[in-house]
């Protein structure tokens, strides 16, 4: 236990503050840089206080992107990322909750075989099976489409596993009570399993949304049309190494914008998530 002494309190707080500064400073620097003249950023004469170009830079980034080499407007990239993150998160949750429901509540032949098959895919991350997956997506003509961007990433053993563990904690008596109350499999799922899983769904949504939003390798392979750029991959495209100067001010603004949706999701979902945890039964 922590002793209630001024000195230990001070030390503990000092360590925490130092940690926060280390984590937050680069983010702060990015924010500051996005409001300064490009020349100031490159020359290193930029201070630690905000400049006066903020509104212009963010406006430029959102609606036209970088100018030295033409990039997709950030708004469009954010749209692409949003579609990708949402489809992946919702798709993963939908598929895994249904498969976990089947594995836990139904007795069918080879039930455990299917469960283990799902489980084994945990051992094969996207990077390992990237070539065959790419081949399949390419053969299906899904390159440069939202479908190609999202569908291969939807299948999820992790989420299935989490839902399975949660479903196993639902007491048998509750299932039986529902059976006697005349709730068939569909009704039981909709009226009881789904509402009880709400907090788990919220938590998974946060994790999976960020997972989808941060995808880099897969969009890099699957999209060649810059109109399909996601924001994380798009930032990389804005940074040029030769032939032209990088519009660092736009890059900085874009970086800040790229962080907003995940932060927003965490903040909004966390409320629901914490409420669920506090309200939870037993």
């Amino acid at each position: 236990m922590v002793e209630q002494r001024p000195l230990s309190k001070f030390v503990a707080h000092a360590i925490l503050v130092a940690g926060i500064v280390i984590v937050a400073f680069p983010v702060y620097l990015t924010l500051i840089a996005s409001t300064h003249e490009p020349a100031d950023i490159v020359n290193g004469t930029m201070g630690l206080l905000p400049g006066h170009m903020g509104v212009t830079h963010y406006f430029d980034a959102l609606f036209s992107g970088t100018k030295q080499i033409k990039s997709t407007p950030v708004l469009q990239m954010m749209g692409n990322s949003l579609v990708m993150a949402l489809v992946i998160a919702i798709g993963k949750i939908a598929i895994s909750i249904i498969s976990a429901y089947a594995v836990v509540f139904f007795r069918f032949p080879f039930r455990m075989f299917f469960f283990w098959t799902i489980f084994v895919t945990l051992m094969l991350p996207v990077e390992v099976r990237i070539y065959p997956t790419y081949k399949v997506v390419a053969d299906l003509g899904l390159l440069n489409t939202y479908a190609g961007l999202t569908i291969p990433l939807i299948a999820s053993a992790t989420a299935t596993l989490l839902f399975r563990q949660f479903f196993l904690t639902i007491p048998d008596e509750l299932v039986e009570a529902a059976q006697i109350d005349g709730a068939g499999p569909m009704k039981f799922f909709r009226d009881i399993v789904l509402p009880l899983s709400l907090t788990n769904i919220a938590a998974l949504f946060v994790i999976l949304f960020i997972y989808g939003w941060n995808q880099y390798l897969w969009p890099l392979l699957i999209t060649t049309d810059s109109g399909m750029d996601t924001i994380v991959y798009g930032i990389r495209r804005m940074i040029v190494t030769s032939d032209a100067n990088t519009d660092w001010h736009i890059v900085m603004a874009t970086t800040m914008l790229a962080m907003l949706p995940p932060v927003f999701v965490v903040v909004v979902m966390q409320r629901l998530f914490v409420k669920g945890l506090v309200d939870t039964e037993k």
């Binding site: 007491p171 008596e173 509750l174 009570a177 709730a183 039964e281």
Partner: protein, 352 residues
């Protein structure tokens, strides 16, 4: 409301037989309690009636109709579970209304039934609460309410009181009994608590290792237990058992004690059963039991005296609480011949 009939009902899980044939006809409005130690198959039997377990052999009929192949929801029964099994995310109202909504009942009728049940169970002010905001006793009442609103042919209770504290258990026991009388619904009630069983039951089924040892009214079981198991299970403190030899209306307990039972026809090796409350202080001709007092438990109105017979058999006697008995004293106890039970030594069955 209806009769529930079990005909030669058996259950096996794979090769393991857990219920070896139970027959009983539960009359309309009757409350039958299945009592037995854990693992005796009492819950399995109840779950078979509910349709939550399949019936391996035999027939279960509700209202004259065999229901072996019917789904639980089509059997028109309602069940109260040990852990209440309330839907945690639904309000008390919705918990009670859920089963009715699934049956497509008219909204106004659902509302009427739920409010009426809530009034009967004194839950009216709690209808909007979630189960987690209720106490154990209130949850138990909601579980009862969920059963009542269905107006089913039969109630099935699976140890509904075992999660409550002792005081509340007694209180709820009385409430359940009153409610069952008032509604007149045929009920099957499972418990491991013999006091609960005795107080609630119109008739009792005492189960042991998958066999219905005896079926009868509580007083029948108390007065004439069919086996040593029933004798030991019904009544508290438990019946005293002594090995003995019977011949010619005399029962020899060993250590020189002989009980005269002029109307007993049993002969050979027997087990004698005597209830602690039927032992009285003071000797009487032919039925005296001398013991040395080893331990006394004062319970207020009564006292339990523990000791051993000269032959070495342990004995418990229940005597008046105000009687002054010293530790290590020699006592002579007597028992009326009509309170002596004789059982076959090997089969444990009653012999008269």
């Amino acid at each position: 409301m209806a009769e529930v009939e079990l005909r030669a009902v058996r259950k096996s899980f794979g090769a393991t037989k857990v219920i070896h044939g139970v027959d009983i006809k539960i009359a309309d409005g009757e409350l039958v309690v299945i009592v037995g130690p854990s693992g005796c198959g009492k819950s399995t039997l109840l779950r078979m009636v509910a349709g939550l377990e399949t019936v391996s052999e035999g027939t279960i009929a509700i209202d004259g109709m065999p229901v072996n192949d019917r789904e639980p929801k089509d059997r028109d029964i309602a069940m109260v579970f040990q852990n209440y099994a309330l839907y945690p995310h639904m309000s008390v109202y919705d918990n009670m209304a859920y089963g009715l909504r699934n049956r497509g009942m008219d909204k106004a009728e659902i509302d009427r039934r739920v409010r009426e049940a809530a009034k009967t169970l004194e839950l009216a002010h709690l209808l909007e609460r979630k189960p987690r905001q209720l106490s154990g006793g209130q949850r138990q009442r909601v579980a009862m309410g969920r059963a009542i609103v269905r107006e089913p042919k039969a109630f099935l209770f699976d140890e509904p009181l075992s999660n409550l504290d002792a005081k509340l258990r007694v209180q709820m026991r009385v409430e359940i009994k009153k409610l069952q009388r008032q509604l007149g619904v045929t009920s099957l009630y499972v418990t491991h608590d013999q006091v609960e069983a005795m107080t609630l039951a119109d008739r009792l089924i005492v189960m042991n290792a998958g066999v219905a040892e005896q079926i009868g009214t509580p007083m029948e079981l108390y007065a004439r237990p069919a086996t040593t198991f029933v004798g030991g299970f019904i009544g508290s403190p438990a019946m005293n058992f002594f090995p003995a030899r019977a011949a010619n209306g005399r029962v020899e307990l060993g250590g020189g004690i002989v009980l005269a039972m002029s109307n007993a026809t049993a002969a050979g090796e027997v087990t004698v059963g005597i209830r602690p409350e039927h032992l009285t202080l003071g000797g009487a001709d032919g039925v005296s039991l001398p013991i040395k007092v080893e331990l006394i438990e004062h319970l207020g109105a009564e006292a339990l005296v523990y000791g051993h017979l000269p032959g070495g058999a342990a004995l418990t006697a229940r005597i008046d609480g105000e009687t002054d008995v010293a530790l290590d004293a020699q006592l002579t106890l007597s028992v009326e011949p009509r309170h002596i039970h004789l059982f076959d030594k090997t089969s444990g069955r009653r012999v008269d």
